[in-house]
């Protein structure tokens, strides 16, 4: 095992993850199929941008169901914001989108997945974020942290989404754009009427034209359905990016 090339390792051990009881304090429509839930979680330790948590629901007879959700934003001992897209016929997401309401309690476990984080001040290399649909949630968290820290590294988000109505955090992302944060939307089904670019799925050519080139050695974060991530990441490697510079979060599905 000489010359073993090692994936990025954490610098220090992370805080222990634990279960926390959380209360829904606000529920807003995020898109026609998704909600933004704000949870009050008094024991939550806070989380690094990009991480996720497990939500656990318990029925009166003790039956439980758990699913992972990325943290859009959170504060220690304060609020945790999630954005949840409804999957038809799913078990947990239809409950959270349709049935859950302020005052309801659920359990959360985390923070989890600290391999998929970006922290201000760690690197001056540019950052390319690539999101498909609800996969923007952890990348929004990164953009938010970048802005809050006033980090000078250049951040660019390429966001593939079906229609303008289905953009998550549309106003917040628009407000973050500026000299060090660029937002680039690709619409796959329907675009605003004066939209200059073609409508349709991301292609290799679009990806090459609209992302930071390999010569600038960006850190790359790709998040979305498994199919989206599996489509995009081989193209990135073909475009000359080192596989170790590409971090992925697969939400599941096809």
């Amino acid at each position: 095992m000489n010359a073993l090339h090692t994936a990025a390792m954490p610098d220090q051990p992370r805080a222990r993850t634990a279960w926390h009881t959380a209360t829904i304090v606000e529920k807003l429509a995020e898109t026609p199929h998704a909600v933004r839930l704000t949870l009050a979680a008094p024991t939550w330790p806070g989380s690094e941008p990009g991480t996720h948590l497990d939500v656990r629901l318990t029925a009166p007879d003790g039956y439980q169901a758990s699913r992972s959700y990325s943290v859009a934003s959170s504060t220690p001992a304060g609020n945790v914001v999630l954005a949840i897209d409804e999957l038809p016929d799913g078990e947990v997401s239809p409950f959270l989108v349709q049935d859950a309401r302020p005052g309801d309690q659920l359990e959360i476990h985390g923070p989890l997945g600290s391999y998929f984080t970006w922290l201000p001040g760690r690197s001056d290399r540019p950052v390319q974020l690539i999101a498909g649909g609800s996969g923007v949630v952890p990348l929004y968290a990164i953009a938010l942290a970048h802005d809050a820290a006033g980090d000078p590294a250049h951040l660019q988000l390429l966001y593939s989404v079906r229609t303008p109505a289905e953009v998550f955090f549309a106003d917040e992302l628009a407000a973050l754009t500026g000299p060090t944060f660029g937002l680039d939307l690709v619409y796959t089904r329907e675009a605003p009427h004066d939209w200059p670019d073609p409508i349709g799925r991301l292609t290799r050519e679009t990806l090459a034209a609209r992302t930071i080139p390999a010569s600038q050695r960006p850190h790359i974060y790709v998040c979305g359905s498994t199919g989206f991530v599996e489509t995009i990441t081989p193209w990135l490697v073909d475009l000359g990016h080192s596989a170790t510079d590409v971090l992925t979060e697969r939400f599941g599905g096809l």
Binding site: M1, E107, T248
Partner: protein, 197 residues
């Protein structure tokens, strides 16, 4: 159970007896990994077991197959809460590989293409409990799922079944691998719900 979520009754799709706590049955096969999918050709493939003397025991693809490929039917359990039951696999038992390795060390670090690692006690790899898997559900293992060859340790959470396996290194102690350093449990028994430390 004192804690409940108002209005939640669940949509139980399955009899739960074969599912460890907190798991949901899936029919399709989800993919979980931290980076792009490496593509490895069996022509260049090699597996190495390194013992404490620094000796490398090596097998190329044909040598691996020649050790004898078994049919394996097992349930798999991923830490992200899905389980897939009764999966048909084919692979080579680690017992066959370790017949050729003399080591006093009781722990193993599994190394993958892409740089990922995971740690395992040797006793979880021997005794017909672990394989180098090369086929799943009647087909060569797809790169997304760790092909051409992955570790298969079905009695532990599936991150322990290292994809794109390239080598095992014997260790005197149970040092954490990549996922374990990021907070996953050092052992990962799904029946004891050892997800995170």
């Amino acid at each position: 159970m004192s804690f409940t979520t108002r209005g939640f009754s669940g949509r139980r799709r399955q009899p739960e007896t074969r599912l460890p706590p907190g798991q949901t049955l899936v029919e399709k096969w989800p993919v979980l990994s931290a980076g792009p999918t490496p593509v490895v050709d069996t022509a260049d493939w090699e597996l190495t077991i390194q013992d404490e003397t620094g000796t490398d025991h090596r097998w190329n693809w044909d040598e691996l197959i020649a050790l004898g490929v078994e049919d394996i039917t097992v349930d798999i359990h991923c830490v992200t809460h899905w389980s897939k039951l009764g999966m048909a696999w084919r692979g080579v038992s680690l017992d066959k590989l370790f017949e050729h390795v003399g080591s006093r060390h009781q722990y193993v670090m599994a190394h993958s293409h892409g740089g990922y690692t995971t740690n395992l006690p040797l006793e979880d790899l021997l005794g017909g409990k672990a394989w180098i898997a090369i086929e799943a559900e009647g087909r060569p293992l797809h790169p997304e799922h760790g092909g051409p060859a992955r570790l298969l340790v079905p009695h532990l959470y599936f991150w322990k079944s290292a994809k794109w396996i390239r080598g095992l290194t014997m260790m005197p102690g149970n040092d954490p691998g990549f996922w374990e350093r990021y907070g996953y449990h050092i052992h990962g028994d799904p029946w004891q719900e050892q997800r995170y430390r």
